[in-house]
Symmetry: C2
Subunit: 724 residues, 2 copies
């Protein structure tokens, strides 16, 4: 009875979310595009974004098809189905990213136009609505994709096939659908890490040749890298963050579904707990759709509270919906509580990240203000204090994640009307907490995408020489965007961390439910066993190595672009004089292909090391490997995200009117400001390239282990047989 | 039969090592002290060192006595004995540090004098012999301390007491002796972390006020912080590294002894495997004593090969001794092989650290040369590339540690003439590998302590205006010292890592052999259990938090010293004119007390969090905690040590004649050099404060868990009873 309800709600609310997103998209598209000058300025960025997408998606398509072919060949069972799911997962993720970028780049000038003609209220509405297209799109696609695939494979693959493999159909279906999540994650890794290399390459190169060598202002259209730089902002912030939240969401639902299917197995195959996560996610999406329409800024007021109000309302609605659903369906209340615990954890992690990165701090604890003092001493002092506070910032978040895990586990294992195995119930509720945390990702992403849109709108309005009042409107919009972004970043880390923990449990569950010949179910990942500990040591190195590769990649790629910019200035002096147009596409092509060139080795290494650890050291060591990766990855991600954010805000404070220690423009002020620029430059690849990529990286390696489990087990059996 | 042999050899060779050290000490002391000027210059540092020791040891004594009292009160069984062992362990460690600092500060001017009168050969001999005093002292004290305590408690505590507790006497004896190792480690933490804060406080403050504000040269005697700065070098490099190797060595022997006593238990209580680690360590010490006497530099040659030859000979002798012993005593050859595997691992980790930090690199892989290029771009580029290479440098070391662990485990578990439990035999051999790695620590430390001695000798000879030839001799000595130091640093990390792994196993073993009422032996540290994973998450935060506290501590403490230096300059203008002597002791007192003030909270937090994790989450979570701490600690330590070393050498290359891109003194050269100074300043607290302290930190927390096991178990039982 519950299966059709859950699947139906999931698909229906997913479609609703997508249709609302498309409806808003056309609304935004048809709104006023502003003056000729505004159109001209922002059209360049729009073209640049298309140019980026063209190149990136071509390479991604090749990558996806090769990997799909490998999957089809490597898997003894369901190779074709998994490959198709994988291709669909990649495709859906690319589509979501495409829509997000398109609407974001279109919304810049429209927000600017609304700010000029209508003031704060209408401008806020355009920007926020445009952001919500990305938010609702990713929430909807996840639900439709997972729900439809479940239906599809349920219809196509005859029950007898599952039975002949000794598999419960639901278990087999979710195994196939793991391909979808894997597709989402690999695309997300490209979007986030590739986008991260892209945006920082362009940023660094444009600044170095433009500002430092030729003394032309930031964002000057004479700079051949100017468009790449602006495109990078949209690409990294809108598409990258969207892909990150999307893949965490899909992974969390999948993990909970795998664990739920395991419980169902003990309950004579009712289809209840396996599909329940879809239902919970659907409720969150409905809450987000409602929340998006309830967000309204009052004129002449800071729109920050409006954004926060939207988030609170969505959270509240979700909580009510979930409790009502649990009561109506007579499910255990532990499930609703676990989902709510997850949601609260996301808010807590977002809040504490904000304490470490914002100028406000918390009470007497003012890390960023201390860093402003350090900047007055020396570059080294600023780097050291940012690094130290970055390290400290990991403490509350990691503790929060641990508490969430333990509390939701205790809720589940104490539940009386779940499955028969206490342990399984507990782990299932950890996964439900992850689903709960991500349930409102539609709304969260809407607030987040709003940030870069208003940021760019401000750029457009300034370059289009619009009246002063319009600029003030955009400044207000921009300020509220920054706060929203800081909170989302912490939220994204928490979301992926809890999702990865859930996936880790799903990986272990799969060693049992998939009934792979020769594989004994892993219930124990014993760190006291040297081979498991060795796996954990290798795993701990993975996020470390990946971060290093990304940072060195940004450095190398920016060298290429610097050479190209210098070449253009040299070959055509008209560019600097403003008489001829620079070749923006050349820089965009370098940023794009270079980003992927730098990313490819890291991605391949990571996937291969994951497979090799399992094949050579065994599945228990592979589990240890995943555990080690989570431990070091979480800390590295929080360190880099928050140190980067704190350096960024240190610079912003020194530039702001509230900084009164030295008068702007004096020698002392320039000294301190230069130091803060160094901090910001170090922080840029930390917070926009390496740090946030680790989230996705963790999901990718855990999914690699889960998806390729039968292949890894076969390879390990073969390898073990070599030694008798 | 074997027990008297092993104990006798251990104590005898320990005493031999100590006597040889004292003999060399008087030799060094009675050698020529050089010109009046040389004496004058170096006497200041010598006085400063005493002043440091006075203050530090007073505070340490109070800390030790309070903790001893707590131990005596908290433990139901053996409280007094453990407290006494702990006090002896602290005292022995302090004595070793005292001798090391005394001889190092005395050796400076004597090396300088020998360089002037006798040339390279005699100068090298004085410096190396002086270094060997510290090396042989720590090796000897470990053996005598552990051996004598075993004898002492064996005589004092009646066998009936152990039997009434259901304990095998050997198990009980090693439990008591754990106090000795805990004492060694807490003192080492103060020496290493406190010394690290001390030396970087002095360094930073002296540079900032002296060089930047008053334009007086480095090490100028007019600078009130000059002596503190020079003292800091000896304190951090000689005493700190010595304490680090010493405590790792004691911990490794202890861990192997605890595990060996567990095997003996299965063999009807023969006293064989529990005492064997002492024997192996004794063989390494005898090899070191012989090695020290065989080190001789040929005149007119780089003394580097002489140092390396000493290490190779010692290693070879140890290998031969161990194999001969194993054959003569008809033990399993796996034991000798495991010890040798450990030793090779130490060499490998030292070598790979050198690749990432030296100007040589390896083949086409030249991290430091790349960093020299980065320094030509911007401070941010240099910081980013150093950070990225620091991350990458963790890869070979951590993999090396993993391989050592797995190989020695396989050797042990495949052995046929060890104990009856394969698993225990395997873990025992991991601990034997740690003992093997550290067996030659007498020789390793001798080469290491040589470095700061020749470094200071060079300073003395320059300030005493000795002839040019003598300076060239000291330059040659200095160059070979730097390479030796880089290798030792890697070695120290490897040593403590493998020791901690062994201790981790010993902690688990203790949950079995200590027969604590209500405690079930932990054979399983299951990362798949949420509470264990939560423990691991908390554990992973410990090295992170501790590093952050140390780095922020250096910043805060240097603020205090800067205020004092400025005050002295202001209050007595004669100081800057050179007519009155600055108050060196004031700066030394600030550096010392400030260092301890900054260190105290971190140390207490770490010990309390360890106890609390066990008390509230249980012993399995505590085991997960230790595992998490090792995983993140290893990576943090390698990152900070090696990034710091690489930044240091980047600066050195830019200052050296081999750097020809810009001519020295030109504007471009100054720009690049200033950037490299920033890198070095960031690297200083990385490589001399936070990074190396993590080694000791890991030993301290693992020993805290092991030593306080009965107390933690009782607290946990009480806490659990609150919830029925």
């Amino acid at each position: 009875m519950s299966a059709p309800l859950f699947l139906g709600t999931s698909i229906a609310s997913g479609l609703l979310s997508i249709f609302v997103a498309l409806f808003i998209y056309y609304q935004v598209k048809n709104s006023d595009q502003g003056s000729e000058k505004m159109r001209e300025v922002s059209a360049l960025v729009e073209e640049g974004a298309y140019s980026f997408i063209k190149v990136q998606y071509r390479i991604l398509a090749i990558f996806t098809l090769i990997l799909a072919l490998l999957i089809a060949l490597l898997f003894v069972d369901f190779g074709i189905q998994i490959a198709i799911s994988y291709v669909l997962g990649s495709g859906a993720s690319m589509a979501a990213g495409y829509v997000g970028i398109v609407v974001a780049t279109k919304a810049n000038r429209r927000t600017a136009a609304a700010a000029e003609s209508g003031g704060l209220g209408p401008a806020f509405k355009v920007a926020f609505r445009a952001g919500s297209v990305m938010g609702l799109m990713i929430a909807g696609i996840a639900l439709v994709g997972l729900g439809m695939l479940y239906l599809l494979w349920n219809i196509i693959v005859p029950v007898e096939v599952f039975e002949s493999l000794g598999l419960e159909p639901a278990v087999g279906l979710w195994e196939i659908i793991t391909g979808f999540s894997f597709g989402a994650s690999t695309v997300a890794l490209f979007a986030k890490a590739g986008g991260g290399i892209y945006t920082k390459t362009a940023d660094l190169s444009a600044d170095l040749v433009g500002k430092i060598e030729h003394h032309i202002p930031e964002d000057d259209p004479r700079n051949p890298a100017a468009v790449a730089d602006a495109v990078g902002d949209n690409v990294g912030d809108v598409a990258g963050t969207g892909a990150d939240l999307y893949d965490s969401n899909v992974a969390a639902i999948l993990a909970a579904a795998i664990l739920g299917a395991g419980i169902d197995l003990h309950l004579d195959g009712v289809q209840l707990f396996g599909l329940l996560p879809l239902m919970i996610a659907a409720l969150g999406t409905i809450a987000s759709v409602l929340g998006v329409f309830l967000v309204r800024a009052k004129p002449d007021q800071n729109p920050g509270p409006a954004l926060n109000r939207g988030t609170y309302i969505t959270t509240l609605l979700f909580g009510i919906f979930t409790v009502v659903m649990v009561v109506l369906l007579q499910l255990d209340i532990a499930i609703a509580l676990a989902a709510i615990v997850g949601l609260l954890a996301g808010v807590f992690i977002g809040f504490t990240s904000d304490v470490f990165t914002s100028d406000r701090g918390l009470g007497g604890f003012q890390p960023v203000q201390k860093m402003v003092d350090s900047a007055d001493k020396s570059s080294a002092n600023l780097i050291l204090s940012g690094y130290a506070y970055g390290l400290l910032s990991a403490v509350p978040s990691v503790v929060g994640i641990g508490v969430t895990m333990v509390v939701s586990f205790l809720l589940g294992s104490g539940a009386t009307t779940l499955g028969p195995v206490m342990w399984e119930n507990g782990i299932y509720c950890v996964a439900i907490a992850a689903v709960g945390l991500l349930s409102t990702n539609g709304m969260i992403m809407s607030s987040d995408a709003y940030g870069p849109i208003v940021d760019n709108a401000r750029g457009v309005i300034e370059q289009a020489q619009a009246p002063e009042e319009a600029i003030i409107v955009c400044d207000k919009l921009d300020a509220s965007g920054n706060t929203a972004k800081a909170i989302t970043k912490g939220f994204a880390i928490g979301a992926s961390a809890v999702s990865v923990l859930a996936l880790f449990a799903a990986f272990l569950e799969s060693t049992d439910t998939l009934r792979i010949p020769g594989v004994v179910a892993i219930t124990d990942v014993n760190l006291a066993a040297p081979v498991v500990l060795a796996g954990a040591l290798i795993g701990a190195l993975v996020p470390v190595t990946f971060s290093a590769i990304l940072i060195l990649g940004v450095e190398r790629n920016s060298e290429r672009m610097i050479t190209e910019i210098r070449r253009q200035f040299r070959d055509d002096p008209g560019i600097l004089e403003g008489t001829s147009k620079p070749d923006y596409d050349a820089c965009i092509a370098i940023a794009t292909s270079g980003a992927i060139k730098e990313l490819m080795p890291g991605t391949l290494i990571v996937i291969l090391v994951t497979l090799a650890t399992g094949a050579f050291l065994g599945l228990e060591a592979l589990a240890g490997y995943l555990g080690g990766a989570v431990l070091s990855g979480l800390i590295m991600a929080l360190l880099m995200d928050n140190a980067g954010g704190a350096w960024d805000n240190t610079k912003k404070i020194i530039e702001s009117p509230e900084y009164t220690k030295y008068e702007k423009g004096t020698e002392d002020w320039h000294r301190v400001h230069d130091i803060s620029v160094t901090g910001d430059m170090v922080g840029d690849p930390f917070k926009d390239t390496a740090g946030p990529s680790i989230n996705t990286l963790l999901v990718v390696i855990t999914l690699t282990a889960t998806l390729f489990l039968p292949v890894i087990a076969a390879a390990n059996a073969w390898f073990s047989s070599l030694f008798g």
